[in-house]
């Protein structure tokens, strides 16, 4: 019998069915990958096993963990299991830790609770666990607070909490989705080692087929609460018998059809960045002392032609977002100049920037966070119109919004809805509509598809490609995801520690990276083809 057995599990929240006849099992020492798009019920499966479902949820069927009937277990029994025999790691490391408690307290808390160990014993074990997950004492004393750590480091703390008591089963729900590829590779390695060390079962939940293929022995593919296909990872993905499996695999390798960029060499550049540096003063450590400052962007120069699509890739914290903010004139460079359409924009006042603002727009990563939930779509999409020379009338405004919505594949009737009535992909379409409503020449897109499911992501990439062709908009894609860069850009700039360390044609840089930073990104990036090939090879 397996460690975890889910049989014929059905789940409803209120009147909404979430899972229908779900089947899944995880054995000790096995990695089971659970793949599906958002809303397919992956996370709810995990929360069912943990019995941390919302109040209105009703589950039927059978969930057996280590001989215990989970659905019939009392809350006390579940408290004894959670954190002891079953650990869980969540998606968003930035918010998964209590900001007012030290990391030591947070790791030791579960140990003390379950083992009744003394404070000193628990702290000792917590220390060892933090060492194990790669947070050594010298650099990461237990007295650190979460805000003093980066996302990757915080995720290590969350893993330390989950694995502190050597659980029999670890559930990891999108554990690396919020991290850059290099960190992702490190965290996946850590999880893999922990599984091997203690023959722990791992239920790895992800929307990323490549990640799951690299990690999982077996895979379960979930769609709208139903299991589409389940089985050995390599076989399932190489044969792609089920149409949905095929669809997912294709979507995750999707490259939009783009005609060759036209007329790049002609005319003056659209955007010219010359020797731009941005320093941030160090934190004041006392009244008279300051920590040394940080140079976020260090002497960066680049130029973009009209209609060109450029990727700015690099790890989290490399300065790419700071550079983007300066290009958008949302932040001022410490030195250097930025000119847009031949005019210098550095040091200009807000009023002088208005014409430039019309021609440059931005699409952010988080389609949930970037809309005011209390405003209707019409108002949200029309927001950039205030930079127009002449204020449009109400009728004109509706007309323009309708047109922009049409261009991103949404309907006119969507104008009177609120953001929460849209799915993640539709919301990203809304942000694109908002960006193109002023007919800009340049759109800066900061991780525009990394929060989206693979099939939605393929559609959004197609949309970007189409708008690039149709409207001649130039793109600056800021991303740590090389598949995005490969899919949609002509040129790539690799940024590391505030400097641009490599640049060139996208395919060349990604296939033959020269700099160390670029090589690290390329090796760490999960690749479905490569992962399947490796699995096949291992299994002979």
């Amino acid at each position: 019998m397996s460690l975890l057995d889910i049989e014929n599990l059905s789940l409803t929240i209120g009147d909404t069915p979430i899972l229908k006849g779900m089947e899944l099992s995880v054995a000790s020492g096995e990695v089971m990958g659970l793949v599906g798009e958002s809303g397919s019920g992956k996370s709810m499966t995990a929360l069912t096993v943990m019995q941390l479902l919302p109040h209105a949820a009703r589950a039927t069927g059978r969930v057996t963990f280590d001989g215990i009937d989970i659905l019939a277990a009392t809350e006390d029994q579940m408290c004894a299991l959670r954190g002891d025999d079953i650990g869980m790691v969540f998606q968003e490391p930035m918010t998964a830790l209590n900001p007012v408690k030290t990391i030591g307290e947070q790791v030791a808390e579960g140990i003390r609770w379950h083992t009744k160990a003394s404070r000193a014993e628990a702290e000792d074990r917590a220390r060892k666990m933090l060492d194990r997950v790669g947070l050594p004492e010298a650099k990461f004393p237990m007295s650190r607070y979460p805000h003093e750590l980066s996302g990757g480091q915080r995720q290590r703390v969350v893993i330390a909490i989950a694995c502190a008591l050597k659980p029999k089963l670890l559930i990891a729900d999108e554990p690396t989705t919020a991290l850059d590829v290099v960190l992702q590779a490190q965290i996946l390695d850590l999880l893999r080692d922990l599984v091997a060390e203690s023959r722990m079962g791992l239920l790895l939940i992800s929307h990323d087929l490549a990640v799951v293929t690299e990690m999982a022995d077996r895979i379960t593919i979930l769609r709208r609460g139903e299991v589409m296909e389940a089985g050995d990872t390599a076989r399932t993905l190489s044969e792609q018998l089920h149409p949905y499996t095929r669809q997912l695999a294709q979507a995750s390798m999707h490259v939009p059809a783009r005609a060759r960029p036209h007329g790049i060499e002609t005319g003056r550049p659209l955007l010219q960045v010359e020797g731009v540096t941005r320093d941030y003063p160090g934190r004041r450590t006392s009244l008279f002392k300051r920590a040394p400052g940080i140079r976020a962007v260090d002497d960066v120069s680049l130029s973009m032609a009209p209609g060109q699509s450029v990727a700015l890739v690099g790890r989290s914290g490399c300065g790419k977002s700071t550079l983007a903010r300066m290009i958008l004139a949302l932040d001022r460079p410490t030195s250097g100049t930025i000119s847009f359409r031949g005019e210098t924009i550095t040091g200009k006042s807000e009023a002088e920037l208005k014409p430039a603002r019309r021609d440059m727009q931005v699409v952010f990563q988080d389609p949930y966070g970037s809309f005011d939930p209390r405003q209707k779509v019409e108002k949200l999409v029309a927001e950039p119109l205030h930079v127009l020379e002449k204020k449009p009338t109400r009728a004109e405004r509706r007309e323009m919004v309708a047109h922009a919505l049409h261009e991103v594949g949404l309907g006119i009737s969507d104008m009177d809805k609120y953001p929460h009535e849209f799915s993640g992909g539709q919301r990203q379409r809304l942000s694109i509509a908002r960006a193109i409503i002023t007919r800009p020449k340049l759109v800066v897109a900061d991780e525009p598809v990394s929060a989206l499911d693979v099939s939605i992501r393929a559609q959004i990439l197609d949309l970007f490609a189409e708008l690039n062709q149709k409207l001649g908009i130039a793109y600056l894609f800021i991303t740590h995801d090389l598949t995005v860069a490969r899919a949609i850009t002509d040129e790539v700039l690799v940024m590391h520690d505030g400097k641009i360390v490599e640049r060139g044609k996208t395919s060349e840089v990604l296939d033959h990276p020269q700099s160390e930073a670029a090589r690290a990104l390329v090796t760490a990036a999960p690749d479905l083809h490569r992962a399947i090939a490796r699995r096949m090879q291992e299994q002979g």
Binding site: D84, F90, E109, W113, I161
Partner: protein
């Protein structure tokens, strides 16, 4: 942390200085000559002029401000025109009633509000939440003097547990004094508790939706433990803010309750001083209250830093 502390301290001192100027200036502008008031309507102009000279009212404005502010620093608030005693004695006497009253009321309000807030937040939308928040709504809406009268009727008139009013003074022993402060403190505390409970509830509900609450649950902590250990401290910032404001109010805004219970508190002193144009007393008490509010705010700011480590490392 030191930088945070020093900065807060500097802000507090600057505020105090500014407030003293404003208080002084406002009372200067107000109509009414204190010398004439003291001497009565029949006094001659010469007599008034003489007294004005004696009181230093004819000196230049800046000099009078400095003299007054310097006096404040050495706790010399001057003499009351109407009572003819040093203001500091008056204030000290009244503070002996008002300060304990405020502290007891604040403590009661906190003791009631935090558990009610926790209870309500953890049963959000269920019967317990609806009932306790309904009660809180009532607590905010019912005027405290009406409530005070009900308390007097039940506990003083009917059950005869405590006196209906008056203050026996601390010299007669701590227990009798506390007994006479108990009902007014309850009457003051309930509306405050109602407000505080609502703030606690909404702050907690926000915190309970945070990811780290789920992390704590996944550790195996029962819901109650998560509520007390993880949620409450994170919800403290708005609660502390309201507590600070309430303390300032309780110190001087209690005139109605003082009147209902015949308590010789600070509120009544200010009220009498204003009606009698005893400007020195008004100035002094107002400055004292300003200083108290600033001190409480400073304390609240510092407690933020204790509660939230992120504030310690920021400037």
């Amino acid at each position: 942390m030191t930088a945070y502390l020093l900065k807060r301290l500097a802000i507090a001192l600057a505020t105090l200085l500014l407030a003293s100027m404003v208080v002084f200036a406002v009372l200067e502008i107000l109509p009414g000559d204190p010398a004439r008031l003291m001497l009565g309507l029949n006094a001659s102009a010469d007599q008034v002029e003489l007294l004005r000279n004696q009181m230093g009212l004819n000196a230049p404005l800046a000099w009078r401000y400095l003299h007054w502010a310097g006096g404040l620093l050495s706790l010399d608030f001057g003499r009351s025109y109407t009572y003819s005693v040093p203001v500091i004695d008056l204030v000290r006497e009244r503070l002996a009633v008002s300060l304990p009253l405020a502290l007891i009321a604040l403590a009661l309000s906190t003791i009631i509000a935090i558990p009610v807030g926790l209870f309500s937040a953890s049963r959000r939308g269920r019967a317990g939440d609806t009932i306790s928040m309904g009660a809180a709504q009532l607590g905010v809406a019912v005027p405290n003097f009406w409530f005070a009268l009900m308390l007097i009727y039940v506990f003083a008139v009917w059950l005869r547990l405590v006196p209906a009013g008056g203050f026996s003074g601390w010299s007669a022993g701590i227990w009798p004094a506390l007994k006479s402060l108990l009902l007014p403190a309850v009457a003051l505390a309930l509306p405050q508790a109602a407000i505080l409970a609502r703030v606690t509830r909404s702050a907690l509900i926000e915190v309970l939706n945070e990811d780290y609450i789920r992390t704590a649950r996944a550790k195996g902590l029962p819901y109650r433990a998560v509520l007390w250990r993880h949620a409450l401290r994170n919800a403290m910032i708005p609660v502390l803010t309201i507590l600070g404001l309430q303390f300032a109010f309780l110190l001087a805004g209690t005139i109605i309750i003082e009147n209902v219970f015949y308590l010789p508190g600070l509120g009544r002193l200010v009220f009498q001083a204003i009606t009698q144009r005893d400007l020195i007393v008004v100035e002094s008490v107002v400055m004292l209250l300003v200083a108290a509010v600033i001190a409480v705010n400073l304390l609240v700011d510092l407690s933020y830093a204790v509660v939230d480590p992120r504030l310690r490392s920021r400037q």
